[in-house]
Every structure is written in structure tokens, then in C-alpha cells.
């Protein structure tokens, strides 16, 4: 897939959020049309002679002019916000009103409010994420379908239903609303899911997955930069994303094959992102809140700051997983904990921990469950058992990169090569 250029994704989100506020959420599709038209005209113009320096400001000015035209053309045909309805009837009041709607101060929280609007409580988490992908990250229906290995029709349905629910709200979510706190935690969750889909997801396209991580991080930074949204949990979410994303460059080799944590070249990790993540982690420690994001960020920080695999502080990591299990009990978390136990106390103890996980049968289809068993059996020198687990994992692999990674492990069993850890999750 050809990744979209640098302008489309960024500028579309900004313009769409502004125009949706200006036209009202019930006129979302009108706002979308105007954004597409604005961008199309800009790209055609800039093809002759280059992209101007202040392109963002120019695009917004162009969107404003189009909004004026739309109000003139549609003032009788369409319903706008009641407060706007009488203002747009006269040319005398229309222009100053629209100018005001596009003042920098009016524009500054638009994307944030759009993000909060997408996390409507009537929408399932996956629908919230799909809306964020579509409206704030500029992903089309087909791209989203590819990310989730879902059908275009299913994604289309999910998004159009989501937009209908948004439209019923009539205006973007107010950041001062009294249900701000629950909405913020829905936003955290959606951004976390967005990031995880990029980091661990099923899609085969490394470019797109890196882009998902980048977009999730961009939106998390947006939260950090806006006072009411910059809570301790927000800092933890941002920290987690930085510390994980920092390790993305070491996670695959030149041809895109996954590399297990133990074998990664740590000099390829992004030191700047690690520093940023650690700074966020520190800021997340103000206050008494200890969310799942705090714990996951702390675990990511342990890995990111160990200069060699052998220096990893497994004891502390096990402790953090123990706490994480009380906040968010899940077999995947328990599996990762078991792998840390194996590092700390040996593979037999790791296997015992895995056996003790309640609900582990829910991971039957998760390739890295079978792979984890394979790793530990291999380290116990039960090579045939290990091979059987790896073969099962290989059958479950969700994409080519996983398939190649697991096929290599099956081969390694022939050579008896041990020693991969942390659920073998690269």
C-alpha cells in the first residue's frame, strides 16, 4: 500500500474538526465534502510551483472561504445551529460571524473535541477506534478494513452507524462538560487500542502499523498538551506509547522479519523517544492514581532502559505484572508475567505459572501462547514438545512476518537453539 503523503492525514483531521464544529455535527458529511474539496484544490494548485511555507494557515483560510460559500448556498436548504441560523441570513452578519468561528482561539481545541466526540458512550470500543481512525487519522474505509482484516462492508457499516450517533449529538463534545472524566478514560482506552493494533496487530503491512503507532502517539501528545485532558493517566498513556514505539526500529530486520527481544540490537532503539517516554512517566507519577497504563508504562520503561537483555530487572517486572493483574486481569497479561517469571526463576517455574493461569484456554487461538510454551519447553531441553508447540503457533500465525518468525523457531528446534523470552513477543 502506498502511504498517504505528509499533508493529507494531518490537514484533513484539523480541517474536518474545525468545519464540523462550524457546520454542526449533524452536517458531518457536508464538512467532509468541503474538506475533500479544499485539499483537492490545494494539491492541484501546489503541483505548479510548490507547497507554500504557511500551508496550514492557507488551507484553513481556504476552508473558511468555502464555509462562507456553503452558508450562502445552503442557508435555506439546510439546518444549522439555531444561534447561527439568523446570523447567516444577512451578508452583513455572515462574514464577521464566520471570521469569528475561524479565529485561532476558536480553532485550538477542535481536534481534541472531535476525539472526545468519537468516544461516545453509545458506541462500542471498536467503533470508537474506527471513527478516530477515519476522522482524526484520515484512514479510509478500505484501509481500516485492511488493518482489522475485516470486510469493507462491515467497516463501512460500523463507521456510518457511528457517524449517525455522533450526528445526533448536534455539536462536538464540550471539554468542560460534567461527564468529562468518564469520556477521558474512554479516549485513553481508544488511543491505547489504536496503538496496540499498530504494535501487536494482525495487519501484514509494517508501514501502516508504524503509522498507527505514530498517529496514536500524536493524539496522545495532543491530550498531554491540553490542560484539562493532561491527567496523570494521560501522561502514563503517552509514556507507554513512547517507550514501546522507541523499540519499534529494533523489532524488525532489514527485510521486515520480527526479531525477538533477546536478539534485538538495542542501539537501534530510539533514544529520543525513550527520554520523552521517561519524562512522561515521571509526570504521570504526580498524584495517587495508579492506572493500568502506569503499570504498563513502567514495564515498558524497564525494558527500554536495560542496556543489555541480561541487565533487565525481571524481579521488578514480575512485581509490576502482579499489580497489573489486579487492575486488569487478563490471560495475556498473565502469560507475559509467566515469561518474566521464567527469566527470573527458570523455565520450569515459567511453565508452572502458565499452567496456573485461569482462563488460559481463551488464548487457544493466540499464536504467541503456543509459542511461549514452545520457548520454555525448548529451554527445558524437551525439544520435541517444543517443536510441537511451535508448529501449532505457526498454524495460528496471522501474517507473513509472524509466519516467518515462527517457522524459524520450528527450524531452531532441529538445531536445539534455546533462549528467547518475554512471551517471544518481539
Amino acid at each position: 500500500m502506498e502511504a498517504d503523503g505528509p499533508f493529507y492525514r494531518r490537514e484533513r483531521a484539523r480541517l474536518l474538526a474545525a468545519l464540523t464544529r462550524v457546520f454542526g455535527v449533524e452536517n458531518l458529511s457536508l464538512a467532509e465534502d468541503v474538506v475533500q474539496e479544499t485539499l483537492a484544490k490545494a494539491f492541484e494548485t501546489w503541483a505548479f510551483g510548490g507547497v507554500p511555507e504557511h500551508h496550514s494557515a492557507l488551507l484553513m483560510a481556504s476552508a473558511k472561504n468555502r464555509a462562507l460559500d456553503v452558508f450562502r448556498r445552503e442557508r435555506t436548504a439546510r439546518k444549522f445551529a439555531p444561534a447561527l441560523q439568523h446570523v447567516i441570513e444577512s451578508e452583513w452578519t455572515l462574514r464577521p460571524a464566520v471570521e469569528e468561528l475561524f479565529l485561532p482561539k476558536a480553532l485550538q481545541d477542535d481536534e481534541l473535541r472531535m476525539m472526545f466526540s468519537c468516544c461516545h458512550p453509545q458506541l462500542a470500543e471498536e467503533a470508537q477506534v474506527a471513527l478516530i481512525l477515519n476522522m482524526l487519522c484520515g484512514f479510509g474505509v478500505e484501509e481500516i478494513a485492511r488493518i482489522y482484516l475485516a470486510s469493507v462492508a462491515a467497516v463501512e457499516k460500523r463507521i456510518s452507524r457511528g457517524k449517525k450517533i455522533l450526528g445526533a449529538a448536534q455539536r462536538l463534545f464540550e471539554l468542560t462538560a460534567k461527564d468529562f472524566a468518564p469520556r477521558l478514560s474512554a479516549v485513553h482506552r481508544a488511543l491505547y487500542l489504536l496503538f496496540s493494533e499498530g504494535y501487536h496487530g494482525a495487519s501484514d503491512e509494517a508501514v501502516i502499523r508504524a503509522e498507527l503507532c505514530r498517529e496514536a502517539l500524536r493524539l496522545a501528545r495532543l491530550l498531554v498538551d491540553h490542560a484539562p485532558a493532561a491527567t496523570s493517566a494521560t501522561y502514563a498513556v503517552a509514556a507507554l506509547m513512547c517507550l514501546d514505539a522507541a523499540r519499534l526500529p529494533g523489532r524488525t530486520d532489514e527485510i521486515g522479519d520480527l526479531i525477538a527481544l533477546v536478539e534485538q540490537d538495542r542501539s537501534r532503539w530510539d533514544a529520543k523517544l525513550i527520554a520523552e517516554g521517561l519524562a512522561f512517566l515521571e509526570q504521570s507519577a504526580t498524584g495517587s492514581e495508579l492506572s493500568e497504563y502506569h503499570l504498563e508504562a513502567a514495564i515498558a520503561g524497564m525494558h527500554a532502559t536495560a542496556s543489555r537483555f541480561a541487565d533487565t530487572r525481571w524481579g521488578e517486572i514480575v512485581g509490576l505484572y502482579d499489580m497489573l493483574l489486579t487492575v486488569r486481569p487478563s490471560p495475556v497479561v498473565a502469560l507475559n508475567r509467566a515469561m518474566a517469571v521464567a527469566q527470573l526463576e527458570g523455565p520450569e517455574k515459567g511453565l508452572e505459572s502458565i499452567e496456573a493461569i485461569s482462563g488460559i484456554e481463551r488464548l487457544e487461538d493466540y499464536p504467541f501462547y503456543a509459542a511461549a510454551l514452545g520457548e520454555l519447553e525448548l529451554r527445558c531441553r524437551r525439544i520435541e514438545v517444543a517443536r510441537a508447540h511451535f508448529e501449532k503457533a505457526l498454524d495460528l500465525a496471522r501474517n507473513e512476518a509472524e509466519r516467518r518468525f515462527l517457522a524459524r523457531r520450528v527450524e531452531d528446534c532441529a538445531g536445539g537453539k534455546p533462549a528467547i523470552s518475554r512471551a517471544t513477543l518481539p
Partner: protein
């Protein structure tokens, strides 16, 4: 050297994403022309949706010049080339052609 007007024609409207990737390629192509002394005038992109053809001195306006095609002129440039053959080679390398546009190449009339 002679001058040639390139008239870019297209019969569909690409998506903004397509237009962005086209833009990036066009900028490279224009830069190359400029560097090699082939660009007399960048010209302009033209509005696809508005405009028309004036038919008579009373000012009757119709949509397009031709009945048989919906191609419209979406832009123009003025190119320097040593002859028609060379101008055609330059046009063939234009990313607009690769993305489905036509280029009408017209030599500027000389005495």
C-alpha cells in the same frame, strides 16, 4: 529552441490522496524541466468545475468545446524544446500522463 504549450486534460476528478501523490511527482518533474532549461512558464492549474465556452458574440456559454469528449483542460504550461519530437518526449515523462491525463502539445506559431 521552440516553445510548446502543454494543455493538460482529464475527464475524471481524482481523490485528494491521489492528487497529493500526483503533486509530489509533478514538483519533481517541473524541477527537472527547470534545471534543464525546458520550462518557459510554469503556467497554471485550472478550475475543473467552473468555466465554459463562449459560443457567439452575444455571449452564449456552453459546457465544453467538444461534443464527443468530456475531457477538460485542467492546466497549462509553456515548455522549451528543440523540436516537436523532443517536446513529446518531455510530455511523455510527465507524471500527469502516468496518472491518466492527456497532454495536448501545441507548438507556438512562429513566422
Amino acid at each position: 529552441m521552440s516553445q510548446f504549450v502543454f494543455l493538460y486534460r482529464e475527464d475524471k476528478t481524482p481523490s485528494p490522496q491521489e492528487l497529493e501523490s500526483r503533486m509530489a511527482k509533478c514538483l519533481v518533474w517541473f524541477k527537472d524541466l527547470e534545471k534543464n532549461g525546458h520550462l518557459a512558464y510554469y503556467g497554471h492549474p485550472l478550475n475543473r468545475t467552473d468555466g465554459g465556452v463562449v459560443r457567439d458574440s452575444k455571449g452564449s456559454v456552453t459546457d465544453g468545446p467538444y461534443a464527443e469528449t468530456k475531457d477538460i483542460v485542467i492546466g497549462f504550461s509553456v515548455i522549451e524544446a528543440k523540436d516537436f519530437d523532443q517536446s513529446v518526449k518531455l510530455a511523455a515523462a510527465c507524471p500527469l500522463v502516468a496518472s491518466g491525463c492527456l497532454i495536448e502539445v501545441r507548438p507556438v506559431l512562429k513566422l
